[in-house]
Structure formats: C-alpha cells, structure tokens
Assembly symmetry: C2
Amino acid sequence: MRKVAVVGYGSSNFTKDEIPVETLLLESTKQIFDTTRNISQDLIDGVIVSTNDNSKYLAAILSELAGIKPKIAHSVEHLCSSGSNAAISAYSYIASGLADVVLVAGADKINNTGQVLEWDKTRGEFTHPIFWGSMFTKTHKRKFNTTDEELAIVSAKNHKHALDNPNAYSHKIHTISEIMNSKNITDDLRLLDCSYPCSGSSSILLASEDVATKFSDEPVWISGVGQKTNSASFVKNELSVLSSSVTASKYAYDMAKTCPAEIDVAEIHDAFTVCELMAIKDLGLSENENASDYVRDMFNTGNRKINPRGGLIGAGHPLGATGISQIMEIVMQLQNKAEKRQVCGVKKGLIHNMSAAATSSTVLILES
Amino acid sequence: MRKVAVVGYGSSNFTKDEIPVETLLLESTKQIFDTTRNISQDLIDGVIVSTNDNSKYLAAILSELAGIKPKIAHSVEHLCSSGSNAAISAYSYIASGLADVVLVAGADKINNTGQVLEWDKTRGEFTHPIFWGSMFTKTHKRKFNTTDEELAIVSAKNHKHALDNPNAYSHKIHTISEIMNSKNITDDLRLLDCSYPCSGSSSILLASEDVATKFSDEPVWISGVGQKTNSASFVKNELSVLSSSVTASKYAYDMAKTCPAEIDVAEIHDAFTVCELMAIKDLGLSENENASDYVRDMFNTGNRKINPRGGLIGAGHPLGATGISQIMEIVMQLQNKAEKRQVCGVKKGLIHNMSAAATSSTVLILES
C-alpha cells in the first residue's frame, strides 16, 4: 500500500450566515491553490465532496468552479462523519494507485434540512441529536457521578481554545457558571453543552508518497485508519460507551503501530460536552474513569492537547466540513504552524469523528 | 495493486411503484446473501450505498437492516453515474488493502426529488435532462443526417432485449413505427426515445484476489477503470461527442491492456436513443460514423452485444442503481448465466455509465 500524506489545506470561517454550499466549497478549496507549492488544476486526479446538503453533483460543480477536470469525482455522505469518510475514500484511491493527488472538500450550510436522521423512528418525537446527547449525559451522571460543573468545564475549555482559532464560530469566553446557567434544553443539557450547527467548509489535499514532497516540505502522513459502523438506530446502541469509537481506535492504533500514550494532540468529536469525556476514556487517552479530572487539569493549566481549535463546541459543527477541519488542525499541529494553538513537541496526532450517537466512528492517526 | 473481483449480485425489479429506498436496498442485498457461497455478515468490511435520494446515513441503515457491522460505510452520489462511482470506490478500498470484501448497493425511487440538477442555471427553464437529450439529438441529426427511424431502432432493440430481463421496467415490444409515433416531448425527442425513471435497486459484492474464490467459482475481474468529469454545466459541453466518455474509455482500455475490438458485450448509458449511437462511436465499438447501421444490423439479426438487458430505455433508470445493474449484467454475461440474454463466447465486457449530458463518464472493463 502506498503511503499517503496531507500536503495542503484551507478553511472558510465557520459562521451562522446562510451561504450556498457551492460558495463554501470553493472558498476553502481556493485557499489550497493559494497556499500549496506547485499545485495546479491539471495535477488533481480526484475531487471528493463531503456534505449532507441535498444538492447533487457537487463534486462536478466544485471541479468546474475551481477549474479542475478530475478523473474521480463524487460526493460522500455519512452524517456527522462524512468528512473523515471522504478523506479515507481519497486515501484509498491514492493508496491503491488509482490516483496520485486528491482534493477533499467538505461543507454544510446552517439550516440544512439534511442534518437530521429521519429514518430512525425509534426515537419517536425526538428527532434532534439533543435526544441522544441527553441520554448519554444522564447515563454518564448516573455511572460516574459526573457533575454539571465537570461537563461545563469541557465547554469552557473548548470555547477558550476557539478564541485562538480565526475560523471558529465562537470567539467569546464562557465561564463555567455562565455555561451551567445557560438555557436548559433538556433536564441534562444546557445550550452551552451543545456544539453549534453552522455554515462552513474545509478542504485538504492528499498526495501519494511519490509526489508529496513536490507540494510540501512537511507532508503529514496518514499512518492509521480505523472505521466502524455498528448500527443506524440509537436504541441498538450502548449508552455508557462509544463502542464504535473503541473499535475504530483499535484498528487505527494497530495500523499505525502506536498506542494512546504516544498521541500528543487529539481532535475529539464533542457534539455535546459529555462526548468529549466519553471519547477521552474510550480512545484510551486518559485512565481516569470519567476523564473529568483530566479535562479540569487541562483547563486549569492551559494544556491544549484535546481539541486545540475549540472542538465542535467552540469552532462549530458544519457536518460535512467537521472531519476535514479536524484533520487540518492536526496537520497544522504536526507542522508546528498552529500559532497560538500550538501544542509543544507534537509527533503524533489523532482525529475522532463520529455520527448519530456514535452508531459509527472514524479514527485517524497522523504523523509528521 | 491487488486484483478485485465481482463475486455476487442481486437486483430488485425496476418498477413504477413508489417503494422506500431502504426497502429497495435491502431487497437486492438480500439476494446476495441468498445466492453467494460462504458469505456471512461478519465477512463484509465495507457497505457503500449509491443513491440520489435525499435520505441520509443509508449505508448505516442498510447495514443494520442486513445485520452487517462494517468498517467502511457511506453513501456516494454523482447523479446518474453514482453506481459506477460507488463500485470504483469499493474497488479502491480493496485494491489498497483497507478492505477484503465490500458490498455496493444502489437504489433510487421514482419521483425522487434529487434527480434534477438544480445548480446549472445556464439551462434556464430547461431543468429536465430532456433538454440536453434534445440538443444532442438535433446535433446528431444535423451532423450525420440521422433519421427518426434510426433513433427508433435503438429503442425498439432495447425494448426487445428487456423482454428477456425479468427485472426490467418494460416487458412490452414497441415497433419502430410505434416509437416514431409516440408522443412528442420536444421537436427531436419522442416519449419512447427516453429511458424510464423508476424505482429499483441493484447490489454487487466485490472481493480481493486473496478471498474471491471462497465466494465464487467464477469471479469476474475488474481489469479496467476509467473516469472523467469535465464540468457540471451543460453549456461547457460539446454537443456532438461524449468527450468525457472518450477520455474515460481510453483510461479503461489502457489499464486493461485491451482495445474496443476485444469487447464482446457492452452496457451503454442510453439515457436517450441518441446516447447509444454516440457512445458506440465514442467508445470505439463501431467504425460506422453514426453507428446507426451497426445498431440496425444488431436489431435485424438479434445480436445482443449492446445493452443485452435492455439498457436504460428497456430496463429502466433508477439513478443510483443503474451503474450497478450494468455491472451485474456484464458479470452474468461473463459467467454465461444470462440465459435468454446470453451473448455467445463473452470474454471481455464493458460498462459505460455517465451523468448530466456526459459532463462526466465512467467506463469499466470486466474479464472472466
């Protein structure tokens, strides 16, 4: 299998503005052309678009707008983890030898009607993800005596991190008490426990080992790939563990021949505050049973190891873009280009992206 | 690159009934479990759904319905060629070594709102594909003096072939004069020049060379893969040549180290009658300039080399399923299992699947 590297990236701002998905896709893609050495349209073999938008043929549309005439072009959708799935699809085109250079562009716009899973009727009236976020939170509280303050610290930390992310949706400090006193959405979730739906786009450029250094002095290698889909229905899921994330991370660690202790920085899918606590444990990043002491310590010491760009809670969650923006952040960290967000001495980074109450998960490991 | 084979297949009937896309996907997939030796859910590493339906998370939904817990799962969309794009994505997962066995299931339901490309405003009021079908037809008539009778023969032939396809939408003979006298849709297109939008699903199972013979005594190998997306806008396209098909077929022939003369049977994307004439020429299958004598000869002699299952005109065109049903037909031909549709002595077969006025095309070459 040929090695595959990330050699370029770009992102729009994540915003509450209603922006057409085609415009968003072009914005983050243009940045790749503006910032990647030696890139030109004719060198791009594939264009994969990651989105939950109902618009069709977006890979052809983006290609036309960007002046690319690719061999491979199509959209990929898998709800909130569409972005990482599209990146792995691009990885496989390159690893297999079908392509040398593939552009992956993810975008969604706020109020996109495609963001709610309509099929799963087991949830009755509760079609919004807040339903499972609330169930996860109640379970976590019962099992680990997790407090509202411990949940709020996740949000406070990620909002603080997002201050230094120029593309983030939120650029405002929220104190722990402010978060704890924000509007109750359910018994267990307040407004500031939730990630922000928003408009946004992120793009990355992947290249084979044969050509990667043409485009970048610091290619970042995808060394571990893990994916797992357990079900589509929430009721078939466990409430106290992100079991698809456990499986996906095991695959990724094994493929990268590494272990959680070697991960220096991680992008975690914090759709709700409880998800960050669960993922830190389920990915093996902390031995602390409910991870809350670990997060509190990071918050108090200013350690940015988890969600340095602010996570989905601080940076926002434009579904199709999220996994790609997570990859972009880890690439910047590995290239020591994350400026105020930079974690010191990063050699390995992890991306955790999941869908629909963790009925499916993706984990990627990147190395410089 | 590891070799990849088709080792199983299944199809629903193609019908005008409104059937939920999840039901359709499960029906063709169940046939694979019913007919493929040694297959079991735990052996399937990936589930890729090809569709233009607006429903999300369909790969997870199909997986749950079929009892599969795959690593890889997502939907692929690229309008009318979604099916072949999904198959090539599955091919790359296997060729790269990320997966050994991948299920590809494509479906669309009649009256799916996602079937019209809304973005391309260059067409003004003409949002329906009939617009470009009509422009292609007018151009063909001007350039090659193609007659209405020559176009009608394509439809008569494909309707005749569909009689022997148990899954086909149409099971009715249409005479040449009946086709020529069917309702005028535009100046240049009559109702029976058009493929039938319909509900339908087709699934195929792909496996690596390491495991293919576990599932089939007659694995059919994907030896050539060609793809090209030139644009999304019809006005950027040429009218007298399917130029993306020309490019895609060149890639596929080169990869398979073959040439048009070696192709024994072909599935051609006859969205409209003129498309079959154009594709036969542009894929190099006939040296006849407008291919009409070639088609007339096939019709008169009962030669089934082109579109043995009836094409999109006879079998119907459920967008996400079409490319996969084309692959299934060529696999059956190569396995000598196509019964009344069987072409004699088939060693190599070709699939031609395209989108949106041939702004993009896929060509695959299969061998026994």
